[in-house]
Symmetry: C2
Subunit: 410 residues, 2 copies
């Protein structure tokens, strides 16, 4: 089997059987900012989702959980500008959003995925959404404009639109997976204000789709941290139209493995885009923990480094303060031998060893600075105690982060 | 029994039986900055300590643990400017520090508490310490200058010196407890770069002293978070000379309870001083979680709010973004009913209810702003589900924090 996975600049309409749209309906004051997005599948199809672990979660998540109880859906509606959380009538509003779209599309209201992102605690006005549905439905398309409009409409403080796609062969057919996401502040492992929507034309059962999504998210979206806050609204959802014509994936065979690889590639690309676009970020940080005794521990160690405010601030200043990296490994809650740890900083400018066997190495500060000034910096932690590895993604902590979050609501 | 506890502007020499000193020995380049401190008891006495939970911990901690195995000590030596951690020969250097002071004081080297704070991973030069010991010993005194010099010598990026004392009556005798501490960056519940030294003239056994310290620290030092990083060097230590002449506290009687109250008062004052002096802090934040079903859960909830970067940035901007508070409660890992939560912001300017039963309340933004512009802001979370409470202390997240930590080593 040819297992080459090709990435390309696609999105949620790249896979066969999906249309999308994005419009300005009026939830946001700025008329140039789209605030309502839709994805519409040609038919009811297997749909899987994973949600925030926050004890306080948004009403749209409650509605979506109910609607996806049967593992099937046909459309997604997502607004930005208001999280529809902790506002009293959120459940009613989220249900209404779903019903209004279902009505506009002429489909069952139980086949809608509902999502919201934005400020918490403010009632979501349903009128702009109600009035916007006809335009949202009319704008549905499967071209680049449609997928771009949808990807734009879900953004909040994001600077960049985030979308991608991959394709690969399965049973002699071309399978495509495309996705879009939003997220910049409040991003933390286990789904922080992060919304991801993925579509594929692979034929796969609901159960296997859910399993594949969990696997893909564990190594991608759940390994991103911008500021350690886990939001109330996070969700990653994937719909599978089956129109690629491959043999339906119904158990863990070779095709499933390849599908998971493809899904992981899309999710990792989107997760890295979120980290790089973290609020106020000036650079993307990637922490690789290698040669550790267990996978879970490796994940916790990598995440601990990526979320350390001190590491993040040092990276902002391109300061090779590796002691903070070792310190962050130390409080990850994972048992390891500090006397075995080797640390390296790396970027396209080169690599430098800064710590061996838990002890600092003499190194050239100018060389280290040059490496750390790059836009994508790798922090490599060799635990020398096994063969498991994990990668976490994050960004530096800048003045701009503080400015953005000092008065988000205004 | 008269149980009034009086606070006053004292320090580690306030209790009978203790001298202290602080000098510049040359570990720091700036000659105006003291970098070596000593506390000396009139005799070997019960001494207790609690340490960092970081898996990577400093060599001085290893030496101190060994020396306090018998629960007794007579002196403390502490340097700033170098953490003596992850540098290869830290254990030897820390042992030497203790030996040099013991020699200078003419006491047993096993009766020394050794502590260091500063940069990680750089060898600690022993020469400046060796050469400084005579001056350090010569400077020992029990007046205000002595305790102030000691309190100054342990500081790193701290802006303010932190010390206090209390006194109360026990068995008709006046008992005094005084302390000093350092800590501003890398401060996080469970002992983050935080050094605290407390002295008392109470007569108390080593075992009860250790127990009292654990109790006092749980509600004070362990409830402080500046940036979520737990350092490798933290330690809080208390020595008890017994010179007050009270009946020795050997079990949990009324005297023990009063002693714990006094110790807690000193530790809480010092912990709040650390939070207020957090790197770049413009205001002190205090989160009170009240009416919760269990104490541990209340502590976790309060700490989660205090360490949220989004809450901290909002407080910096005096933005009443209570949704972030509720969100931080939600990811504390504690089970609670969001539909019961009431939230208030409070300061000397007044109080305002912003959320009731988990739903946002309409409130006057100008009034909220006025309240949040104060230098000490309270975030009150009424869980309406029990009678337990906990308080956590922290500070806002400012541009200055990023500046300080972007290039700490230069």
């Amino acid at each position: 089997m040819n297992t080459t996975i090709n990435a390309f600049n696609g999105g949620v309409t790249s896979a066969k059987g999906f249309k999308a749209s994005g419009i300005h309906c009026g939830l946001r004051k700025n008329k140039g900012k789209y605030d309502l997005a839709c994805i519409f599948a040609s038919h009811r199809c297997p749909t899987a989702a994973v949600y925030t672990t926050n004890r306080v979660f948004s009403s749209p998540i409650t509605v979506t959980r109910e609607n996806l109880a049967d593992g099937m859906a046909q459309a997604v509606i997502c607004n930005s500008g208001n999280a529809n959380t902790c506002n009293g009538d959120g459940y009613e509003t989220a249900s209404q959003m779903g019903e209004l779209l279902a009505e506009g599309l002429g489909i069952d209201k139980k086949d809608i995925v509902v999502a919201s992102t934005g400020v918490i605690g403010v009632p979501l006005p349903i009128e702009p959404i109600k009035n916007g549905i006809p335009a949202l439905v009319a704008a549905l398309g499967d071209d680049e404009k449609a997928e771009t409009d949808a990807a734009t409409a879900i953004l909040t403080t994001d600077i960049k639109m985030k979308k991608t796609a991959v394709s690969f062969e399965l049973d002699g057919k071309t399978v495509t997976i495309g996705g879009m996401c939003k997220g910049s502040g409040m991003i933390q492992p286990n789904m922080a204000t992060m919304l991801g929507f993925v579509t594929t034309d692979a034929a796969i059962t609901s159960a296997m789709l859910q399993k594949a999504l969990r696997e893909a998210v564990a190594d991608s979206f759940n390994m991103v941290s911008v500021d350690g806050d886990t939001s109330t609204n996070d969700m990653v959802c994937v719909m599978a139209s089956g129109e690629a014509g491959n043999n339906e994936i119904a158990y863990e065979n070779e095709a499933y493995t390849l599908f998971v690889e493809g899904l992981k590639k899309v999710c990792t690309y989107l997760a890295m885009a979120i980290a790089a676009d973290g609020e106020g970020a000036t650079k993307l940080l990637q922490c690789n923990v290698i040669n550790f005794s267990d996978k879970t521990g490796a994940r916790l160690l990598a995440k601990s480094v990526i979320r350390s405010s001190l590491v993040k601030a040092a990276m902002f200043g391109s300061d090779a303060n590796w002691g903070r990296v070792l310190c962050a490994l130390g409080y990850a809650g994972v048992d390891f031998d500090p006397q075995k740890v080797d640390l390296y900083f790396r970027s396209k400018e080169g690599a430098i060893a800064v710590c061996r066997d838990g002890k600092g190495l003499p190194f050239d500060e100018d060389e280290a600075k040059k490496i750390l000034l790059a836009k994508h910096v790798f922090i490599d932690c060799d635990m020398k105690d096994g063969d498991q590895r994990a990668t976490a993604y994050g960004c530096d902590l800048s003045y701009e982060y503080v400015r953005i979050n000092g008065d988000y609501r205004s």
